[in-house]
Amino acid sequence: MAHSNKSVEDPEKEYNPVNYIPHSESHGTKEVWMGFWILLGLTLIDIAFYFIMPANMLRNSIFIVLGVVKAYYIVGTFMHLKYENNKLMLSIIIPIVFILWLIVLLLYEGDALSIME
């Protein structure tokens, strides 16, 4: 077992789904640190908005948008999804529409519940 499984690179030849490990290249650490500084910066922007703006719907929307941007960097850079096969990317991202649908509908519902009370 000492031989490296990375030899299984050419899937045409000896693809064995059980021990198939695609060769993964290092993308260097530059982008990682870039991602870190961006995330840190976004968090600081969050905090800045928190102190300079009064609490209202606009501020909340800014927070949510910044949250989504942060999620983009975490999933894209840290979780490496940017560099994965784009079909894998789509199959992870498309199901999120169901969550969005649930959010929209339940916020409507929460509004209706508050009218009832």
């Binding site: 077992m1 064995n16 789904p17 059980v18 021990n19 198939y20 199901p95 169901f98 649908w101 649930l102 509908l105 339940l106 409507y108 519902e109 509004d111 209706a112 519940l113 009832m116 009370e117």
Partner: protein, 639 residues
Amino acid sequence: MSTTSHLETETHGHDDHHGHEHHKETFISKYVFSMDHKMISRQFLITGIIMGCIGVFMSILFRLQLAWPSESFGIIETFLGKWGKDGILDPNFYLALVTIHGTIMVFYVLTAGLSGTFSNLLIPLQIGARDMASPFMNMLSYWFFFLSSIVLISSFFVETGPASAGWTVYPPLSALEKAMPGSGLGMTLWLVAIILFIVSSLLGGINYISTVLNMRTKGMSMDRMPLTIWSFFFTAVLGLLSFPVLLGAGLFLIFDRSFGTSFYLSDIYLNGIGALDNVGGSPVLYQHLFWFLGHPEVYIILMPALGITSEVIANNARKPIFGYTAMVISLLGISFLSFIVWGHHMFITGMNPFLGTVFMFVTLIIAVPSAVKTFNYLATLWKGNIRFTPAMLFAIGLVSLFITGGLTGIYLGNAALDIQLHDTYFVVAHFHLVMGSASIFGMFAGIYHWYPKMFGKMMNNTLGYFHFWLTFISAYVVFFPMHFMGLAGVPRRYYEFTLVPEFGIWMDVNVVITIAAIVGGLAQVFFLYNFFVNIFKGEKATQNPWQSNSLEWTTPVEHIHGNWPGPLPVVYRGPYEYSVPGRELDYYPQNIPSDGEDDIHHTETVKVDEPTIETPTTEVDSSKVLFASFAKLFGLNRA
């Protein structure tokens, strides 16, 4: 990790693998904690059948009460003890029976027993893989399911009885221990059982998905996968995305029940207790989260049955399935729509009426893919060279039940009509036909069709015919009259209707339904006998008893770990190439190269009475056949 290396040695050394495997396997590793997908599928099936027997038996017990209210039956006291004192069913326990019947049939039989069994059996075999992606997690999936079944059954033996709030366990009834006996420990056990079930379904689901994506053999492109695999794939995706939401809903419910939170509870008044301390919660939110699972769950149940039906109908009609791509797209459409329509279960719960309109709109769209599937089944049968095996009968029965039950879905999906029909027997009739009976028929079709693959033995056809006709007729006699009861307003989940004189006219119908239910229940004895006795005494199966194209029939009858003794088969065509013109045999297995004429391993001879050559339809494109027939029918054919 040990599993990985285990499989590696196996895939690398095929030649010595036979003798090599045998003395290593003990009874425990072969039959109990097996990691072989074929054994796990048998474990799922047999557990599912046992749970199914329990579920059906419970339905007969409460049907007795509905037909002959407050009359004494010895059998009730024998089985239920203190809840059936003097043979009369306790009203609280009536609710418990209804609840556990629903839970068992929905989750344990039709989710685990159907999709668990056939996904495990067929995914590796039909796509040409040696096992699941992770055999170990596959084993865990079964054992979580088993544990979950044990916990659920054990709730019958606690003092206050099992959960009684209906299979949807709506709070506040399920959240308040003092509301009724069934909301005590039994309810906690129900929740524990369901959480174990969610874990099992998650472990199974990610396994099925990655196996289908990653482990297809050479040439098995996505458009050459049998429709069974497509349906299991979409089913797994549905389970993967919807069960976690039930986990969330269940967590909130557990906190409300055990830790005094107010997620679903507000200051409602409880008889004998007074107003509750809780403030601000809303049970409607539970229903949203529950039905976010609950509606996909309906398709988790139904889609494997539809996939099995596609396979069985194409095989036994000896025709390519009509509209393969349309079938796949409609499965995809159903899967997508199933996530956005859950609110049609909640039209009259006090939900925002605007949402009711949205949900009604998207719900009615589901009729489109469902109709596509139905017509494709009918078009496949059209002018087919049909073999009426028991599996085929059950598959056709599914189509019939799917149409009958599906049509009433259009009524119930309508927010205005639902005001009248909600929580009546109309709903009971609808979902028992379209989801319950249809899926059970798909499961039977699968069992009769793949029994030779699972156990290496044949089932008895005569018993199968008895089983089918009795089950089919009794399914209709039981559920069809319920439509009329529902239209008249008879509510479901009522212990008896003697106090409502208007419903007196339905008493005779209830007697008919109960008798039919008992006949239908007894009909399953034919199946059970056929199933269990033939495991040991059945006629030995040939390798490809149904002259089928798909890969599972190229494996040896004796199960071996790794499925194929030699290298994996290579796929050269789609799975539904039946009655190909110019070919001597009326089937064309997926693994036979096109040029090498019939170098099929002659392990079985085609039966003499099979009219293999003079098949009426030799055209491959079945749509042309259909259009030509329509043209003839309407006199459009000028030629």
